[in-house]
Symmetry: C2
Amino acid sequence: MSVIAITDVLAGKYPVNEEITVHGWIRTRRDSKAGISFLAIHDGSCFDTIQAIAPNELNNYQTEILKLTAGASVKVTGILVESPGDGQSFEIQATAVEVLGFVEDPDTYPMAAKRHSIEFLREHAHLRPRTNIGGAVTRVRNCLAQAVHRFMHSKGYYWISTPLITGSDCEGAGEMFRVSTLDMENLPRTEKGDIDYSEDFFGKETFLTVSGQLNVETYCSALSKVYTFGPTFRAENSNTSRHLAEFWMVEPEIAFADLGDAATLAEEMLKYVFSALLEERADDMAFFQQRVDKTVIDRLNAVINSDFVRMDYTDAIEILENCGKTFENPVSWGVDLNSEHERYLAEEHVGGPVVLQNYPKDIKSFYMRLNDDGKTVAAMDILAPGIGEIVGGSQREERLDVLDARMKEMDLDPADYSWYRDLRRYGTVPHSGFGLGFERLVAYATGMQNVRDVIPFPRTPKNAAY
Amino acid sequence: MSVIAITDVLAGKYPVNEEITVHGWIRTRRDSKAGISFLAIHDGSCFDTIQAIAPNELNNYQTEILKLTAGASVKVTGILVESPGDGQSFEIQATAVEVLGFVEDPDTYPMAAKRHSIEFLREHAHLRPRTNIGGAVTRVRNCLAQAVHRFMHSKGYYWISTPLITGSDCEGAGEMFRVSTLDMENLPRTEKGDIDYSEDFFGKETFLTVSGQLNVETYCSALSKVYTFGPTFRAENSNTSRHLAEFWMVEPEIAFADLGDAATLAEEMLKYVFSALLEERADDMAFFQQRVDKTVIDRLNAVINSDFVRMDYTDAIEILENCGKTFENPVSWGVDLNSEHERYLAEEHVGGPVVLQNYPKDIKSFYMRLNDDGKTVAAMDILAPGIGEIVGGSQREERLDVLDARMKEMDLDPADYSWYRDLRRYGTVPHSGFGLGFERLVAYATGMQNVRDVIPFPRTPKNAAY
């Protein structure tokens, strides 16, 4: 069978006054006194439903059609006609309504046709894509993901699938999930009495990665322009609207590029994907604008049409110190900025996206390139009005001696990073990159307040349902 | 800085007789007696190198240029000219060669310019993308991944990121990796003395998923056409050329679709991605044809130009029983087929791809739709000449009573699958899907014999390096 998508029918891709068959689920059923039922049918291909008009002459009208409730699945055949009413442009005058599946006990069906709280939907993650908001989030998420790949591909970047399971000791095991097949009830022991990880599946301790960056740098040092787009993991006990234990990240890495190049790529990417979203998912974005966040489309257009201001951390501190505003967390040179500071800079001082750069080295990672002042590193965060940090990146330290010195300063053992050091020993090149949290991007683009609502099955402390 | 890609230079996108600057790594250096050095420079943007001609008048000719070895990084400025010789169409008459990074101790550099065994490269996974074969695999892998997304997107499918960490008990925990943050040296215990997983990060036992299928079915039951493309995990102790502990899978799921529709989508997808590959990566495919597998391009063209034969399992058994060939593993109705049988069918009997379908229910999963004969299920495998099984799929059991009966037959507890059963309780629809192992696809498309060589950092028993 070849199934027709409702989005194509509504777009006028099928001839009127001819027979057509659509498949989908009932959103609403309305019966007229004249013995006609109006069925609003969705199939997820777009935000809107198509209306099918079922007359009481249909032989299953009394036995089945009048029993259709929200969520029931149907196959509707009929004549496609132009719709006389407002709203949709086309509707179907049904000649047959086949019920594929009723809803068992409609009174207890969790997704009955009414407004549900976002928390209620989260607890029914397997059914929430059936709702208006769940479908819209899914289509927007897909649109942004496709746009990311398309943008990177068009720029000549190669997608690299860096490993999820990592045996590297280098990334702060405290926040990592252990991956193991050891029998927890009978842990093998060494002669000394320690757990013998040589007996584990990979022959050593392994964890879920927190970032593909170090791995993808190896491919950058060969293919020049690369990126990852895959899941990453943090075992942080953070119950906030911005944290997930499992989330997706986009991490481009660019050879022969400095910090400014990375910021430019991030700016171009954000503008590209937001433009694609407004163009391709106008239906869903109209819904988010109306029901979730009245400013969301304006906000995206503001990003698209602005030049991202670049500002040094040092200047930002001065602005914050002299702005006359009292912050909960006081600022001075050397401190990490809080959300309140980031939002002040983006929303009040600049009134648009800000690339904040050249942070004190002591609050940043070992691999970030030391600036000539010896005090700051070539790191940047992009702060967006309404959300704060959306991108974090840096130029990487390509000088082996400086890298080694930084590692020692931070009590890291260069021997643990031998393959990473090899990139600096063999044909090292200046290179830069950034990470973009994909769920934060989707949340920002939709106005959804919690990243748990923009990923199908969120993983958070004490929750791995489904 | 805006870096020019060598692929664009070789494609004639820049004007000749004008100055140009390229960045990259030395593949070879050849010095003429006349005091000129020929540098072959690659940047990973394509298979080919560009030649830069460095005359001994350059002021660092003796001190640096003559010391350049394979893997050193350079920035070369010069005049782009048409190449008089065979091979490349353009070359650069260098006016400046800036060395960005030498190779420390070239004699021990693992990727020195000579042919390396594939096993040697595997042991230097962080450097192998610098080789001809490593770069070619990376570009082909990217091309196929982009083509998969593009194909699905063009067909109206939505990409769904199903979870990697799963709390579902339903998928054969024996082959799964445990994910935990419990302190292995001080495991919390319940009053009864069992390990207390309520103290673990997610409040229960969790594992890495072996497939996104059951999860993505929830989105199929709302958005109609969906797919996953993400990592999956198997803790199988299989040291074969076809198995990885961490691998990527493409899993489309189609509502209102039967087994034949799933097979058609798989056939169309394979043809689309192979066509894209031959068109977009002719350079890399010529290399694979020449150096890895003399038949690889013919084989892909044969797939593109064939109609996939559809054959019932029952007929296949009869063919195998009567073909006059002695198999290592004897066949009879009810047994699972081995690679030798699959290859006979595809390579000798049909001479092309085969969709083998309707397998005995006892060798297949509980969720596959029971056929009317009560003995077989609507499952299919696509067998390709030269590799065997490349796709496995099925129509899913959409009838709740039949699903429940099958679960009981297989000693599964329906209570463990309550959310999966909900899809059948609320507006159930016929639906089908398949899984395509992405590394097997890349191996098939390149002629590479081992899936470990087509993923950047392979994870296999006793190996999680990097």
